[in-house]
Symmetry: C2
Subunit: 303 residues, 2 copies
DNA sequence: TGGCCTGATACCTGAAAGGTATCGCCATTT
DNA sequence: AAATGGCGATACCTTTCAGGTATCAGGCCA
């Protein structure tokens, strides 16, 4: 049984006339008659009552007509849904990102993607860089937004934004009164850094900056992620060095200050597996590229 | 899109291996690969992720897999239901019969048909011969059980049973005490006969018998059908001449007596349109034939 | 009875599906 | 790093089957 036959059958059942049905199907009458005969032979069932000049559907024909209509409708639905998902207009996209990305451009990027593809279900989660890498490799996620970028030959990378580093201080810090703080003056402070594992990590980037400024922090507190680090800062455990965008979201007990000293900045990068050509992923990367260009332009304009 | 492709697709989706899927489908691998490729081209959608040695379904593939399974299942249902109805195992059969048939062999015949074909919905109705003829011609019914048989070249006929005529008397009749009644003695009685229209009808058959016995009923009461006639007998309006089988069902106010005199008997005949080859009809006629043979044999045995 | 309408049949052509052989890529092995 | 094996894709041929044209056959009407 093939869909074509069902279509032919429905045409004849509608017209109750082989000639007209053939015209409607844009074909000649003989092959249509043959297809219907084949369908009847296939089922071993009389579908049309040809005893008089006017053709009529038999009971079996009426039953098949019902089913055929439904089948063709459902085929159409299957077609359209598959195409929609296959073109990225629907489906699912699993995005994970570092905690420090939840304040800057990323939320806007995600909102933009959602406005373009509202039917795509987003599964968002937050991880540190090491977890991002593992999850992307094992295909638990489709997109990893990492800081700094993940070193893996299997990944496709799209830079999202680059930003300067600033200090996050407890509001009772003795540096809170200064508009700018010299990094070199912070040798006696406790630095709250992250992630603890695996090393080397972003923590080591900050320690490298300190070293370049000629000191080594008096004390170190290592947390697993950015969120915990800021929490510790807010309760006065120590200070931290964080991406500038974090300052956009104020938090009780924490104040942000630019610093004087080496500032290599930090970049947020969007990753996907090279072999993941899913349209949802490609579309997300496409929008990421647009955002990166726009962000860069904005950055230039404001600098 | 054709069902074959969906079947192929499901095999590959199940096996996630073209070679094994081809084996399962009892075909070579290259044409299978080509069919899947054609399906993907047709949809304009990637269904399998072939980037690694292990094949995987894409999101679109998963969506199509769901739909394809349902479509094939529903096709199977459509197939089976159509075949069932087409073979007479289900569907609908519209039977109409003369009122006087509701007491004899017909109910048993119908019960027997129902036991063989319990899924066939029966639409039963009662009509007089003239209505039966009209309804059968206009295809409002499939089967007409008439008495006597309908004269129409377009009908197929199966004799169901032949029976003697007996008298139906009010229980207060002066003939009620007799075991047998001479028909010729009934000249002064009111005869309740049916149907009133169209004439000549069964009423005229009875009048013919009277004439042959040398009398003409003193009074005549014509009703439209057998049921009304018996009702009039039960309230003492007059007597009637009815098929023997009617006596099997007793009714208050009515007693039945064989009569002495000309008794041409009466036959119940099952009719269907010659051009109605519906399996439900053919099966009913088949069972009717069996019943007629059996009824005839029974009749011989008991005579 | 002849003409017409309509579906069925005969026969041919072309498109498409299936088969065999083989290629090319990747992954594993030594 | 080259060899090997597994697997899907491609090339090319064969076969099958759907579609087209011409024509037949039966029912209906004049």
């Amino acid at each position: 049984m093939e869909f074509r036959r069902l279509k032919y059958f429905l045409a004849v059942a509608d017209e109750l006339h082989f000639g007209r049905a053939a015209t409607r199907l844009d074909m000649a009458q003989p092959p249509l008659s043959r297809q219907i005969a084949a369908l009847e032979a296939d089922l071993g069932v009389q579908l049309f009552d040809r005893s008089r000049s006017q053709i009529r559907l038999t009971q079996a024909g009426l039953v098949l007509q019902d089913h055929a209509r439904q089948l063709l409708d459902r085929l159409d639905v299957a077609y359209r849904e598959t195409k929609l998902v296959g073109s990225g207009g629907a489906g699912r996209l699993r995005i994970a990102f570092v905690g420090s990305a939840s304040h800057g451009l990323l939320p806007t990027l995600i909102k933009s993607y959602r406005s373009f593809y509202p039917e795509v279900e987003l599964a968002l989660s937050s991880m540190n860089n090491a977890e991002l890498q593992r999850a992307l490799v094992s295909r638990e996620i489709d997109i990893a937004v990492a800081r700094p970028e993940l070193r893996d030959e299997e990944f496709r990378r799209e830079p999202l934004c680059r930003e300067r580093l600033i200090l996050a201080l407890p509001d009772n810090s003795r540096f809170a009164a200064q508009d700018q703080v010299r990094l070199a003056d912070l040798g006696d402070q406790t630095f709250v850094l992250y992630p603890r594992r695996p090393r080397p990590s972003y923590a080591d980037v900050v320690l490298g900056i300190c070293e370049r400024e000629g000191f080594k922090p008096a004390a170190l507190e290592l947390t697993q992620d950015f969120q915990s680090a800021i929490s510790l800062v807010s309760v006065g455990v120590g200070l931290s060095v964080v991406p500038e965008s974090v300052a956009r979201t104020q938090r009780p007990g924490v104040i942000y200050r630019p610093y004087i000293g080496h500032n290599p900045g930090t970049a947020l990068t969007v990753h996907a597996r090279l072999d993941n050509r899913a349209p949802q992923v490609m579309n997300f990367l496409e929008i990421t590229r647009k955002f990166a260009r726009k962000g860069q332009a904005d950055g230039r304009a404001s600098s």
